[in-house]
């Protein structure tokens, strides 16, 4: 489609960010037979393939997707599952298996080691922080924190989720960050968010022997649902209403679930049956429907769509029943810092303001954050210089359907691209490996044929 395909293929590509998205993209790019291809993967952390998601060492932090869905390769869905079996880390009768995330990090590391050994000359790894990307006459130049720079035909941003908290009036910290110092085990803590990140934090606190009360606050106070073994229903795009107003779509989808439940089919199978079409549904909605979805429906969608392993769900619900975790539906309206934090939360239902005195506030509001305030230097410098802009809903960077970054004036960049969570505004569900590997496969195909 693009002019590039007709002229010369890009033979040098820099991937900024060596977390899971970056490694998956490198693996797909290196599938191209082109012997002159040069892929450079830049990561500031000491280890590749971990990023934020897979750097946890806690064995209770398991994948939220079963092993059968976690292959790094779009055209080989069983790759991770076989890897687990070959190493005796799972047995066939155990399926579905929710492997520890640290095991997944090892899988990606081995995959990258293998690529590095096989692709001498075609793959180069750099352990350094990237500061900025600047277009040059024939491509791009990525400036590194050590004062050097790397040039290539094009650069792909794969910087993933923001590392710094976006919520909490400057008082909230990330679990496991440097600011997360030792707490008294009896201390009461407050968690902003009640989703999967809150669940991770709860598991971490448990592991540390923490016994104090955990107040978890979100607008609706909803807990994600557990996985259950099932078979997604089969749908075709011809069955799905596209491009309608949100209420119409929601009405259709609720009806579809009701009909299937009457026939004894679990709602999860309907939600999962829609998954192959989620990007298409999102991309065809008018902007008013997208906005309404983010404001009103997303919280409900998320707890049904982004589920947790059944064992983890068991532990969390037990903690809620015993009062260890208190779920609060409301909004933080004020935080006063003293010896403790005094957090005022306005209840969603009664509008009353309740004050919680807590020793620490953790930010688990999840992943959506206004990109123009990102803590990532490369992304911020692109936005500051008008080479990139937030998407209209401010979920991530504005990119084309082909992953090309769109500049402040609307120009589609020919040599700065993005994959993974950064592209949420365009691709909507692009946080999990099954979606990211599809995106990487398509991008690799488009760039390198």
């Amino acid at each position: 489609m693009t002019g590039r395909a007709n002229s010369t293929l890009p033979n040098s590509i820099i991937i900024v960010g060596g977390g899971a998205s970056g490694v998956v993209l490198a693996a797909h790019l290196l599938k191209a037979p082109n012997p002159d291809l040069r892929v450079t993967l830049i990561e500031k952390r000491p280890h590749f393939g971990q990023g934020i998601a897979y750097s946890t060492l806690l064995s209770a932090h398991v994948l939220n997707v079963s092993a059968a869905g976690m292959s790094a390769y779009a055209d080989d869905p069983g790759n991770f599952w076989r890897w687990l079996l070959e190493r005796g880390l799972a047995t066939p009768e155990q399926a579905p298996v929710y492997a520890p995330r640290s095991v997944y990090a090892r899988y990606l590391k081995e995959l990258l080691d293998e690529l590095e050994a096989r692709e001498t000359g075609r793959l180069r790894l750099i352990r350094e922080e990237s500061l900025s990307i600047a277009p040059t006459g024939s491509g791009v130049e990525v400036a590194l924190a050590n004062g050097t720079s790397v040039v290539a035909h094009l650069a792909v941003l794969a910087t993933g989720h923001d590392e710094e908290p976006g919520a909490g009036h400057g008082h909230a910290i990330r679990m496991g960050s440097e600011a997360d110092t030792v707490l008294d085990p009896e201390d009461r803590v407050l968690v902003l968010g009640t989703g999967l990140s809150m669940v991770d934090s709860f598991l971490s606190l448990e592991q540390r022997g923490h016994r104090g009360e955990i107040i978890a606050v979100s607008r609706r106070g909803l807990l994600p649902s557990p996985h259950r073994k099932g078979n997604p229903i089969k749908l075709d795009v011809a069955d799905i209403p596209l491009g309608t107003q949100l209420s119409y779509f929601v009405g259709w989808f609720r009806g579809l679930i009701r009909e299937h439940q009457k026939a004894g089919i679990d709602w999860r199978d309907v939600v999962d049956g829609l998954r192959p079409f989620n990007q298409k549904i999102w991309q065809n909605w008018p902007s008013s429907a997208k906005r309404r979805f983010v404001e009103h429906t997303k919280a409900w969608w998320d707890i049904h769509r982004h589920r947790m392993a059944p064992e983890v769900y068991g532990r969390v619900t037990e903690a809620v029943q015993s009062g260890r975790i208190r779920l609060v539906a409301g909004r933080v309206v004020g935080i006063t810092a003293g010896d403790e934090f005094s957090v005022q939360v306005q209840s969603r239902h009664t509008q009353n303001i309740e004050t919680f005195n807590v020793a620490r506030i953790y930010d688990c509001t999840g992943i959506a954050r206004d990109i123009s305030t990102t803590s990532n230097s490369v992304v911020r410098s692109l936005v500051d210089r008008g080479l990139a802009r937030p998407d209209p809903l401010r979920l991530g960077l504005d990119v084309s359907d082909n992953c090309e970054v769109i500049a402040g004036d609307g120009t589609v960049s020919a040599n700065i691209l993005a994959v993974g969570p950064l592209t949420r505004g365009t691709f909507f569900e692009i946080d999990a490996i099954p979606d990211i590997r599809m995106q990487c496969a398509r991008l690799g195909k488009r760039l390198l044929g």
Binding site: L235, A238, G243, N284
Partner: protein, 150 residues
């Protein structure tokens, strides 16, 4: 299969797409202009409103207009709202499946092929916008255009 309902709905939308942006049209005018029974058209426009393709205003100055620019409304999207899942025959649908009395769906080769056909239907109809359909030239113009091209 495109029903009369689907066809009338598309004609009504083309009618609205021809008006200057924001201008309302009376249901009566759309009905007479396109040979559509008015009562039927009322029901059709009501469904198109629920789905967010048209807006209505009540009263003397009332009527219907497009809720979004004509180039953003895809034909396939409209047809699904009016006629349900895109399908060349009633058994070739996953959510609105209607069993044929006279065959077995597991072994029916006709159904298998028709399931493939519906993908092709979706591909065509989801690519074409209402604006494109509005601007399709009539048969006479088309043959003239073809002659020029030749």
């Amino acid at each position: 299969m495109l029903t009369k309902k689907g066809k009338y709905g598309l004609k009504a939308l083309v009618h609205l797409a021809r008006l200057p942006v924001g201008q309302l049209a009376f249901v009566g005018d759309i009905a007479t202009g396109n040979n559509i029974p008015k009562k039927f058209l009322d029901a059709i426009l009501g469904e198109l409103r629920n789905a967010g393709f048209v807006q209505s205003r009540k009263g003397k100055e009332g009527g219907y207009r497009l809720a979004r620019p004509a180039d953003e409304i895809k034909i396939g999207h409209v047809v699904r709202v009016l006629d349900g899942p895109l399908a060349p025959i009633p058994c070739a649908s996953r959510t609105r499946y209607q069993r044929c009395d006279d065959c077995n769906e597991a072994t029916c080769q006709v159904r298998h092929l028709m399931l493939e056909v519906r993908q092709a239907i979706a591909e065509v109809l989801d690519q074409r916008s209402l604006a494109e359909m509005r601007d399709i030239a009539g048969d006479d113009d088309l043959s003239a255009a073809l002659k020029i091209q030749a």
